[in-house]
Symmetry: C4
């Protein structure tokens, strides 16, 4: 079942080491079939160079395994929470890519400093609030999803406009219309994090880019009259 989606999820997972976003098994990609409400995700602990399509795990949105002989990634409750709350997204990526992780560990959001950022993220990339001991102890991976959702709802941000976030003291999650697009956004997030880091080293007091330039770049690419392509 879901062979097309499984192939997309497999290929998207294999993109992670190719883009230098992961070492060992530090990352995972999932995808969702919105008609059947079924999620396909990488199994837990399988190295990327041994990963096969039949190893992928299929679950429903409540976390029940529908198909697959291996355990799903232990981050699956985070993925499921995001799929439930962000109905427009079709794929999710989690990595510990180093530049984005540094911002997550510093607990700092990444402001929009230039057009590379503005082409994909329509404003600051947020960081989640610290999780409480109770949230960590009770239901950690699901609560990780909840603090992500909370960050978007609190500021009324459309997850299609900001397709990623930094989980504090942890690492980035990103998403997209499908698994491939989610990986694309994970690569962009890492590049944007690198550029922003270097910008702050050069100018600690730097201000965000102008709203006019942010609007121009995001909307020429994602707005109703999009025309952009390099």
């Amino acid at each position: 079942m879901l062979e097309m989606l499984k192939q997309e999820v497999l290929l998207a997972n294999l993109q992670l080491p190719l883009h230098g976003l992961v070492v060992f098994t530090w990352g995972n990609v999932s995808g969702i079939d919105r008609e059947r409400n079924l999620v396909v995700i990488k199994p837990s602990g399988v190295p990327y160079d041994e990963l096969r399509q039949q190893d992928l795990v299929v679950l429903d949105l409540d976390g029940n395994i529908v198909e697959g002989n291996l355990r799903p990634s232990s981050d699956i409750p985070t993925h499921l929470a995001l799929y439930r709350e962000f109905p427009a997204i079709g794929g999710i990526v989690h990595t510990h890519s180093p530049w984005a992780t540094a911002w997550a560990q510093a607990g700092r959001p990444i402001p929009a400093l230039g057009t590379t950022h503005a082409d994909y993220f329509y404003g600051e990339i947020p960081v989640t609030r610290p999780m409480t001991k109770e949230e960590i102890d009770r239901d950690y991976e699901a609560q990780t999803g909840h603090v992500i959702v909370e960050a978007f709802k609190a500021h009324n941000i459309d997850p299609s406009h900001i397709p990623g976030i930094l989980v504090q003291n942890h690492a980035p999650f990103s998403w997209g219309q499908n698994p491939d697009n989610a990986v694309h956004n994970a690569v962009v997030l890492e590049k944007v994090a690198e550029m922003a880091f270097k910008t702050f080293q050069l100018k600690p007091e730097v201000s965000p880019m102008s709203q006019a330039l942010l609007d121009k770049h995001f909307l020429r690419k994602h707005g109703v009259n999009a025309y952009y392509g390099q």
Copy 2:
């Protein structure tokens, strides 16, 4: 038509990922035939590993498409503005290479700190002024070209002496006698940006190199009595 130039432009575009200057399609190279006043440029949104010579787009200096079935890079109005105003250049490169982009985002020009810089750039690499909301809203890509030209005219800089610039809150543009030379200068600009970044981390109060050393290195390579080669 223009098959030789198309081949040059194709090969120059393919150099961008090989030199690590681009991810995805974040970059483009164009070339101009000065006798016919025709420009060849990368089409919009085509990945580098699928790019073929017949995909390239030919335009006149007013932006009319003369040949090609695909849309040109959306940066084409910037390229055209530079070709119109800088008659000595034969190729243009735009990338979002990370070190140069960090300087562009910080809004800081790159001073000449050493001979690597002086071998190619005869003084500080400038940064454009911020664009106004009106410029951004009206005719963004053409106005990007105009602020570049303005930066050179305001300080009476010869674009052959400083073959590149940082567009503020955006990224670098560079150029050269032909597309291949423009890519060469894009690589140099990125390396110089990296070295200058690290130099300022080591010595925030560093001064530019001496005029005598700047003259020596630039002129032994580009002056009328050039003799340099490593």
Copy 3:
């Protein structure tokens, strides 16, 4: 003799250049057979691309060579000291990987700042005290082992909980249940050192992560009820 262990030690040594942890011969891996109390280690000065299984050197825990025609790595007394004092470890790695070495040269321990760290190191990664002139002059490599052991004993740290250390003004040592696991921990230590460096650049006053989050990540992977895998 010990052909299985030799093969493990050979493969583990070859992982070092593949993971970018060494240039030239700046690193070595050893493994121990705990039943026979025999240690297998890389020979001194042999380049990784010429290293063969029969080149490995076998020693007892007193440093007597039991098999092998080449000299063992000159770091062997450090390895032996660790095997004698840390009975649970089965493999040791020494490299001069640049991020971890920078922390060692700065004499700064690496605090636990995020979950990448917490997945493998249950708290701060310590740095040894400076060695005295007498220790350096008398029996340098063995004394290096002693200051490592001293750092763990002084703070009552279980070497299985913190599988690595920074030797001050020198470089990291790491270990694990076997040679392959020791290399795995060396890679993690280098990545954690990189992320922590960047975090401190972004936020010099950053605090360690919460104990609850540190507990959660370390114990879900290494505790009696471990369930973790990405």
Copy 4:
């Protein structure tokens, strides 16, 4: 003539791009036959991937071309000055490797901060004084050699103990017993520059390593009783 030496010089030149020390033709290696007082060096401007043994240029110590159809690297007067003044060296390397170049541009010597440094450089790696306008204008490349020699003579440093230097506002030169060893030291210098940069970011007030540790590491490898090898 000098076919063995030419092969050594060719192979040493090809090591530069493999070790990531050069882009384009930003570097060169030479070697000397001390019996005949003849120097072999890379020709000017030839890309590394097109370089052939017969392209190398042979000169005497006064700079007269003895064999070869191409111009020698324009840095040849610097090489010749060093061969004349440092009789124990057999090979010289010049690159613009980015970490070492950053220190050169900052005009800062690299103090001995750890054992990676001490294994190869017996103390601080010096930086030349700024060159005067007269020196630059008159006989630039030869004067570059002279300020290098001056830095060693002024502090009575043995060039075998410190096999490299930073030329201010320019880039590193390094040397060794032969061309291959000179490249080895160029790689070490770049790595040491990287580690020292990162160490100063972590601890701006860091002190040099102890003399005892510096002695131990340098002398166990280069002293009369050398025994070292990893």
